[in-house]
Symmetry: C2
Subunit: 327 residues, 2 copies
């Protein structure tokens, strides 16, 4: 079994380079923008998206250069921009164990700094001067922004189907991870099956990643995840464990689950514990874990199409790790 320490040791050199580019490359004319951006950018993010772009380029047999790292951070900017807008929209109190940015600087500033980071990301893609990359990025951001709206509209829809849920997490998470991997292939000048495989790989990994995230909102520990547990539930946000349990639940348990999630802001610790017990009763958590495992399997199949290499092995370990991560 791969451990977090092992992964971190393997990706350490890459992460250092990504951090360096993030630190050096980021400058706004407005010091306040730097302050808010740095708060969100240097809050212990995993740099998963830049890392995946870099490893994807390398998986295609191409060397990564300074330019590759400069390009890779656009995915962190895009991610940070969506986190900022998300937190305002979700009214989240915590992000990665610290106060959400809008609690420190107000919604207004945070909306605008999100806009800035988004512009900055597009600017990096333009500076790269590759129209295929811009095509991927602009499709991705359109899908993502539609996804955010869908998620907001679905907030009161407690009858969300498994299929609806996949549509939401595709746009919320999978499409950006998929874009990072696809852009890695484009950056390596691979426009054929490698580009397609990496796009698919990223998508499946993204699904697994978000499903695990949603599971941790039920079964995680705040000290590890850095987020309030049960936050989604208290917002009435329906995710896979709930959906899978609801499908199987007896009428009485079904009514109970629906009643509890509709309480939203009024959900007590006891309510949440009761919901967890009901979800557990119908194997909602274990079946969610199985679904995530299925996506991991599909992701690994895509990696398997590439020649064995240390990069492939590293990506495989990273992919396995998504399932067992605690934050």
């Amino acid at each position: 079994m791969v451990t977090k320490q092992e992964i971190l040791a393997l990706i350490g050199p890459e992460l250092q380079k990504i951090e360096a580019v993030l630190k050096n490359n980021f400058q706004s004319y407005v010091p306040f923008i730097n302050q808010v951006s740095q708060y969100i950018l240097f809050a212990g993010g995993k740099r998963l998206r830049p890392l995946l772009m870099i490893l994807s380029t390398r998986l295609c047999g191409s060397k990564t250069t300074e330019q590759s790292y400069r390009l890779s951070v656009l995915f962190e900017y895009l991610h940070a921009a969506t986190l900022l807008h998300d937190d305002v929209v979700d009214e989240a109190r915590f992000r990665r164990g610290r106060q959400a940015a809008h609690h420190l600087w107000g919604n207004q500033a945070v909306i605008l700094v999100g806009d800035f980071l988004y512009s900055r990301a597009i600017r990096i893609a333009v500076e790269e001067g590759n129209m295929d990359i811009l095509d991927v990025i602009s499709r991705t951001t359109t899908l993502m922004s539609e996804g955010e709206v869908l998620q907001l509209l679905n907030l009161d829809n407690v009858e969300l189907t498994e299929e609806d849920y996949y549509e939401v997490i595709y746009r919320k998470t999978a499409v950006l991870i998929s874009a990072a991997c696809e852009v890695g292939a484009i950056h390596a000048n691979r426009d054929g099956w490698q580009r397609e495989s990496l796009k698919q790989y990223g998508k499946f990994l993204g699904y697994a990643f978000q499903i695990t995230d949603d599971l941790l909102d039920y079964t995680g520990v705040k000290a590890e995840t850095g987020k309030d547990i049960g936050n989604d539930f208290k917002e009435g946000k329906v995710t896979l464990p709930f959906i899978l349990a609801l499908e199987e639940a007896q009428p009485e348990d079904r009514q109970k689950l629906l009643f509890l999630i509709k309480k939203k802001g009024a959900v007590s610790k006891a309510d949440f514990d009761e919901a967890c017990k009901l979800i557990e009763k119908y194997d909602g958590f274990s079946r969610t874990r199985e679904k995530a495992a299925l996506f991991i399997k599909k992701a690994l199949e895509e990696l398997g199409k590439f020649e064995p290499s240390p990069t492939r092995e590293l990506l495989e370990k990273l992919t396995h790790f998504v399932l067992i991560r605690k934050n």
Copy 2:
């Protein structure tokens, strides 16, 4: 003297084509996004930015095609996106005589639909496939988002200088109008002095446009502007009439002006009238009008570098009209 009716008759055919493209070209997979977008896009906007792009292309001697109109609407999307985020940030109640979108759908939805419109604008630029255009657009949006933050930070700065003010309105308004004109030239394959002149023309026109807008916030009539009068003043937003009056004011009047604008939410009708009288006393309004006229003069000088043509004449009329507009 050019009249609004005359201008509208002259630009009518262009406006119709722009409206048609806006109506047909706009589709999100999410009906709610269409609803919010249409509310802001079809709220009686002047289509100034798409129109300027089209006329700039034509001023360069190039024919405009369906593709030109498709490209032009990206400037309306960008403009609408900033209006949506602005209204949330400003907590505005009215926009173009109707309730601001966030009062109908909530801040959350409006932030996200703004993000969508922004993505859509970038997507149109990518579909055009011209890296120079993308370069202009991505620089522009970065400057604009920084400008929005600057404006927010300056809200409590009642000692804003005339120079600071120009910096704010450059980023808030002039840079996008400038970009629309510059892109018009690029679209006509003019990369030399025409591109530079149209960029400058748009900038000067943008300054004049925003100065007039800020003047109308003092001297306008709600039935004509569709906005609350004195809104900026009540937010403590310092604009040119106030700055120019403050520079000249006797110590006592100066203190009075500063006292009144700092009251913000507590500003009464009588307070606002008193501020207007003081600004009038130091010729704040007439001197603001003179500054706008100076920028109009500079804008016309740029147009004068082009050969005389019906398009140049039309642009000159439009440019003059900015000074006398009532909304």
